[in-house]
């Protein structure tokens, strides 16, 4: 049940989706995969929105070069486990939210365990090998996978829903090798914020989602454009299921 204090805290958003919507957010458990630039924005907005449980998975520690964009952390956090520093910050932001910080590596043999009973995955990874593993787990569990990525002045975001949309392997069939990428903080903030908005919309049913629609953000020209996506019938993750229907 939502307490009077919670009604007060969430008053501005409950005008949009009511007490019922807020109850749904409180009952929700979300996996945020990665606590970097995208994860900073997504975690802050999801915690502030009152998602009941946020499970944050990241294997890393805070480095000085993270701080141009990863605003979950401050100078004093350098060297500290990201999930630990993130949990401390988010608990201060909203004590009603349960934060589970797991310093683990997302890989084929760990992912199902890490996803557990989460009802949605937010992609805040910095590499496609990890994203593919999460995509496959989302399909195995039948839960939405909100994909976001950034590089330089550009970003992309879309919502994959098993049984309803294409999947990440339709869009990016082969994972490019991991490498250091240039980026400005605000682009991470925009993409991570859209991922958080998609998550809130999914659980509350407040609005349509970015289904089969890739948003491409161009921070040079300051435009956001839509690219319609279509599932690949031969996709090894989402294709078989679609031909069965």
């Amino acid at each position: 049940m939502i307490s009077p204090e919670e009604c007060d805290r969430y008053e501005r958003q409950m005008r949009l989706f009511g007490r019922e919507g807020q109850e749904r957010l409180k009952a929700a458990k979300v996996l945020v995969a990665g606590a970097g630039g995208l994860g900073s924005a997504a975690c802050v907005y999801l915690a502030a929105a009152g998602i009941g449980t946020l499970r944050i998975v990241d294997e890393g520690a805070v480095e000085r070069s993270n701080l141009n964009r990863q605003f979950l952390y401050g100078d004093e956090d350098i060297g500290r486990a990201k999930v630990e520093a993130a949990a401390a910050r988010l608990e201060r932001l909203n004590p009603d939210v349960r934060i589970e910080g797991l310093r683990r590596t997302i890989a084929e043999d760990t992912v199902l365990d890490l996803v557990g009973d989460c009802g949605l995955i937010v992609d805040a990874m910095d590499n496609f090998a990890g994203r593919h593993v999460l995509n496959d787990a989302a399909w195995a569990k039948g839960i939405p996978f909100i994909h976001g990525a950034v590089e330089g002045f550009y970003g992309q975001v879309t919502t994959f829903v098993p049984g309803r949309t294409a999947c990440l392997r339709c869009l990016v069939p082969v994972a490019p090798p991991r490498r250091a990428f240039p980026v400005i903080g605000p682009l991470c903030g925009i993409v991570g914020s859209i991922e958080a908005a998609e998550t809130v919309k999914y659980f509350t049913g407040a609005s349509r989602l970015l289904e089969n629609m890739l948003l491409m953000l161009d921070g040079v020209d300051c435009v956001i454009e839509e690219v319609p996506l279509r599932p690949a019938p031969d996709c090894r993750v989402c294709g078989r299921e679609r031909t069965r229907r």
Partner: protein
């Protein structure tokens, strides 16, 4: 046939356009389209590697990756929209 080509991310800087209309004769493939739009060696170098498509580049024909179609041999039709961009990997 007339096609629309949309460039995204750094390909906008390399091809100096957000989108462009391209006219090709019938029976054209994605390879024909790429040969047409790559006017400079720098542009070619972003798309091709030894005559084949560079790995990881994303080319969507009407929203579907050509790797799930017939690759460079994918046939194009009048009115097709082809989107081209590098994978954005960061987070």
């Amino acid at each position: 046939m007339k096609l629309k080509v949309r460039f995204f991310a750094t390909f906008r800087e390399i091809f100096r356009a957000r989108e462009t209309d391209v006219a090709l004769t019938g029976d054209a493939t994605v390879r024909d389209l790429l040969e047409r739009i790559c006017a400079t060696p720098a542009q070619r170098g972003q798309v091709f590697e030894g005559g084949e498509l560079k790995p990881y580049i994303i080319i969507l024909k009407n929203g579907r990756h050509i790797q799930h179609l017939d690759g460079l041999a994918t046939r194009l039709e009048d009115g097709d929209v082809v989107s081209i961009f590098p994978p954005l990997a960061g987070g």
